[in-house]
Amino acid sequence: MDSPNQFWIRAILVFLSIIGIVILGRYLMLPDSWGQYGYYRGAYVDQEANKPLIHGTNQSCISCHNEVVELQNYHSHKNLSCETCHSSINTHIENGKKIADMDIKQGENQVNLCLKCHQKTVGRPENFPMIDRFEHLDKLKVKNTHTCDQCHTVHAPLENIDHVKKLRMLKETINEK
């Protein structure tokens, strides 16, 4: 026959063993950094932060390509990231050494790249400079096969055009006199 005391001892033992199993289970199964910041694996925060950079910034380009960046700062393209048109910097530089040439778009590819932003499209803000390719070429009386860079410097699209305008104005004022 069980005495009432034996019953309580058994009940307490079962209770303690459940607590023990939970503590042991948590110790074995939860990762080390669990609960470092909250109810999650704290080490992942730094793991996420440690992912390698693929893109740099324009500051990354300036040390070698100062002249291009200066030209780009001339006018409307100054806000553009170099890597928007040329591919990301990790394809070009590794550990401070050049590993491959950057992607430079020529010919039809280049026209498509320019038109990605400057094609007349429904939904674009009206004050944004937009053209229809062939309409633009017709209006300026040049061949349909012209690419953008035959008139515009791609890094500062209005630089040489402003220059020509200034020269024209100068010429006109001289003619008037």
Binding site: P31, Y37, G38, Y39, Y40, R41, Y44, V45, D46, E48, A49, N50, K51, P52, L53, I54, H55, G56, T57, Q59, S60, C61, I62, S63, C64, N79, L80, S81, E83, T84, S87, S88, I89, N90, I93, N95, G96, K97, K98, L115, K116, C117, Q119, T121, V122, G123, R124, P125, F128, K171, I174, N175
Partner: protein, 275 residues
């Protein structure tokens, strides 16, 4: 004018002998040196510190209140942000961490929304839906979408293994080693920004480029945006652009405000039709 040109030509003709003399004695010679082409690879070896991609991380900025702003009126729908995002975060084809939607409102106030290829190819060559006539368009605009980085996220609440959580500095991220890809968070997210990544076989989402922010750089899409429609910064820093906009008279909106998720992604000049 004509006379001027003739005079100039005469001047050049007369002075040709002098010009050659100058070249020989070296005073113009220096400038001719500039015309000898030099390979840029010669310079590429000598890189300053800045050109290296810095990979050390800064400590968490716990005082910052990071926020993202999208100026809808500036977006031109070029898709550069989506391209940069795919490259930066190695997002598999067919999934989008960020995308650009096209809203077209016609004269009958019907709203047409589409986002073919997530807007990644740009909208230059993507025609409108056949049912829309160009003459009937009242308004059209582009709306970039990305993670709202809610202060009260529904996705982290439902995760059964606590694999998605808010970091101490306020970014909602997915622990790729812990996630079991059950897909609860995908259903819970009211903004539809989560997806199952085919490469890692876990849930995945936009992290506002947490790895870039910790390295002191802007998120890849903000860096790539040509019209500066995307802005990122710290609201607690009074000199930051976002704080200036936040404290100005501009009307800022968040998506699905009544849900109470308290997004930290704000839209400028957003139309009421956008959900």
């Amino acid at each position: 004018m004509k006379n001027n040109i003739e005079i100039n030509q005469n001047f050049i003709d007369k002075d040709r002998r002098g010009f050659i003399k100058k070249i020989i004695d070296g005073s113009i010679g220096g400038s001719l040196m500039l015309m000898i082409p030099m390979k840029s690879s010669l310079f590429a070896e000598v890189l300053s510190e800045d050109s290296n991609i810095k990979n050390y991380i800064n400590p968490m900025n716990l005082k910052a209140n990071y926020c993202f702003m999208v100026d809808v009126s500036a977006c031109i729908g070029c898709g550069s942000c989506c391209v940069a995002d795919r490259r930066e975060n190695d997002v598999p084809e067919g999934s989008y961490r960020t995308w650009v939607e096209r809203y077209v409102i016609d004269l009958l106030n019907t709203v047409h929304v589409d986002a073919p290829f997530g807007g990644e190819l740009g909208y230059s060559n993507i025609p409108l839906n056949e049912t829309i006539k160009e003459a009937d368009i009242k308004e059209a605009f582009f709306v970039p979408k990305l993670c709202n980085m809610c202060e009260q996220p529904s996705c982290t609440q439902v995760c059964p293994v606590a694999a998605t959580f808010t970091t101490p500095d306020g970014f909602v991220v997915v622990d790729t080693e812990h996630c079991v890809a059950c897909g609860y968070c995908i259903q819970a997210c009211p903004y539809g920004v989560r997806f199952i990544n085919e490469k890692t076989h876990t849930a995945d989402k936009c992290t506002w480029c947490y790895h870039r922010v910790r390295k002191g750089k802007l998120p890849a899409c903000v860096n790539a945006c040509p019209t500066h429609a995307r802005k990122f910064g710290d609201l607690n820093d009074p000199n930051s652009e976002v704080a200036k906009i936040f404290n100005s008279k501009n009307r800022l909106t968040v998506l699905k405000e009544p849900l109470g998720n308290e997004p930290q992604l704000y839209y400028l000049n957003l139309h009421d039709e956008v959900i």
